[in-house]
């Protein structure tokens, strides 16, 4: 089993997602590029001390639709 397949199988198992061996293989094949993309985000030097684009509302207003 490749490292990528081990990682993918483990993470999907931890998430309790019952992917088939075929689906795991597809995701494992794409995993190196996926991980490289993630690492590219950490390599953005300008983001080192930046805040995320997230906003936590202390007093949310709840409204229904429909």
């Amino acid at each position: 089993m490749s490292d990528a397949e081990t990682v993918v199988r483990t993470l999907l198992g931890e998430a309790r997602l019952p992917a088939s061996d075929e689906e795991i293989a597809v995701l494992a094949a794409a995993y190196p590029d996926f991980k490289a993309g993630v690492e590219m985000l950490y390599a953005v030097a300008e983001a080192r001390y930046e805040s995320p684009g997230l906003h936590f509302e202390v007093s949310p207003v709840f409204g229904d639709w429909g």
Partner: protein, 474 residues
């Protein structure tokens, strides 16, 4: 009625001139659907009787001197991830609880009704707006009117195909990574992803809470402007909907681009896979913008590769959180493409997700600087025409799509982006121009699209299949 209008603008004028009634118009659209829907897989459910009743009400309102604006009496379809009271929402899935949204209108559907629009039915999508078509599931396979061997794009598949095929004049789509602009591009119509929060997204099943946008597709930028005027504005049920004032987007359509500075990014939009016709078609589109008075410069969008990753990583993680309980218990009921999309969320750590949001903030800052030097950025919407069904397998096509679909950047940033037709590939498939602007500057974005469409007619082209079917009907 001597002929069926192609655009909302044209239909609105004909309705007010007494040249046709909304009932006649709606009937004509239903006739188109009778002729073509089985081949194109546009509709999941039609509301024929209710639509004719709404059309009659629109006609009665006109007769009584009541005019609610250009959308009155106009047939409009709704992507089936948004609730409409006529029937249940499926999200094109076996999994969505039929009780979700039952008997209710999403706020934007309610706004369209209040404006007198005629809701014609619910149209096809990707499963939960993210799962590529799955022939093993009991839902129509959406097909492109320009070539039925191709995909109309997604995830607002039926919205795009139905407008191109004359089944309705406008429709509602949603856009998390390109799902309004992709079908607009592939089907040769116009589609607007407005600024994040410009249009409330409550009453819509989510993929990415920080990426989802609800918005219009129609033949023209003018039509999209008329729709946006109805759809936009804060709603208390969506805390992310913006209280920013809603402009009169139609009044802002001046027909020119004098004094407008346009940046063209060719750097990131010509990977090896693009269609050979794309470069020349884009050059012609840019020349048209210059002829309208725009000053054009070359630009390079900042953090292009990083923002593509940030969009998908965010969508995977946010989408998985929403789908997790059902994925665990009903894995096989989901489309194969949906399973693979959502499963990638399990590969994203919490820290990875937060880092993606930090990079989005950095890129937004860089974009603000870019927009000090230009007022608009134009690019191709996609590098190719519509993808062929016989070339695809589930994940490979999503990866291929992401290589040649240039839309997700603007979801990560939240800026408005409009797609308008700009020509054809050598195989006769539509190509599309994407026009992006500053946050909440939809007026300028739509003005550029409209001005372009006053000197070109790509948006008025009708697929041969549609013309042939109409001729046979006569």
């Amino acid at each position: 009625m001597t002929r069926t209008p192609l655009t909302v603008r044209e239909a609105a004028a004909m309705l007010r001139a007494g040249e046709l009634s909304s009932v006649e118009l709606t009937t004509a659209m239903q006739d188109s659907a009778d002729r073509l829907d089985e081949r194109l897989g546009t509709y999941l459910v039609r509301f024929d009787e209710q639509a004719l009743a709404a059309a009659a009400a629109a006609d009665a309102a006109f007769a009584a001197g009541m005019d609610h604006g250009p959308m009155q009496g106009i047939p409009v379809a709704v992507k089936d991830i948004l609730a409409a009271r006529e029937g249940p929402t499926t999200a094109q899935s076996l999994v969505l609880d039929p009780a979700w949204g039952a008997g209710k209108d999403a706020p934007i559907v309610a706004r369209l009704r209040a404006a007198g629009a005629v809701i014609t039915g619910k149209v096809t999508t990707m499963e939960f707006a993210c799962g590529m078509p799955d022939p093993t599931k009991p839902f129509p396979i959406p097909r492109n009117p320009w070539d039925t061997g191709t995909w109309p794009g997604g995830s607002s598949s039926g919205t795009g195909s139905g407008i191109a095929a004359g089944m309705f004049l406008a429709g509602i789509g949603t856009d998390t990574g390109g799902s309004i602009r992709c079908p607009a591009a592939y089907c040769g119509v116009s589609g607007l992803k407005a600024t994040f929060g410009r249009v409330p997204k409550s009453g819509c099943t989510p993929i990415g809470y920080s990426l989802d946008h609800v918005g219009p597709l129609a033949r023209s930028s003018w039509d999209c402007a008329a729709m946006l005027r109805v759809l936009a504005g804060r709603h208390p049920s969506d805390p992310e909907s913006s209280p920013a004032p809603v402009a009169d987007y139609v009044a802002a359509l001046s027909g020119d681009l004098k004094g407008v500075r346009v940046g063209v990014d060719r750097v990131h939009h010509f990977p090896p896979q693009v269609d050979p016709a794309l470069a020349g078609v884009l050059d012609a589109a840019v020349s048209a913008l210059e002829s309208l008075g725009a000053t054009v410069v070359e630009v390079s969008l900042p953090y292009w590769d990083e923002m593509k990753v940030a969009t998908m990583l965010t969508a995977y993680a946010e989408g998985l959180a929403y789908q997790m309980p059902d994925l665990r218990s009903r894995w096989g009921d989901f489309f194969a493409g949906t399973r693979l999309f959502a499963a990638r969320g399990a590969l994203v750590s919490g820290a990875d997700y937060v880092q993606a949001q930090r990079v989005r903030r950095v890129a937004q800052g860089a974009l603000q600087k870019l927009f000090q030097d230009v007022d608009l950025v134009v690019t191709p919407t996609a590098g190719t025409g519509a993808l062929r069904y016989d070339d695809r397998d589930e994940l490979a096509s999503l990866d291929h799509l992401l290589t040649t679909m240039f839309t997700g950047y603007w979801n990560a940033s939240g800026n408005p982006a409009l797609s308008v037709p700009m020509g054809f590939t050598g195989d006769g498939l539509p190509l599309s121009l994407q026009i992006a602007g500053r946050p909440f500057d939809e007026s300028l974005v739509l003005r550029a699209g409209d001005a372009y469409q006053q000197v070109t007619d790509w948006h008025l082209r009708v697929p041969p299949l549609v013309s042939e079917a109409a001729a046979v009907a006569v």
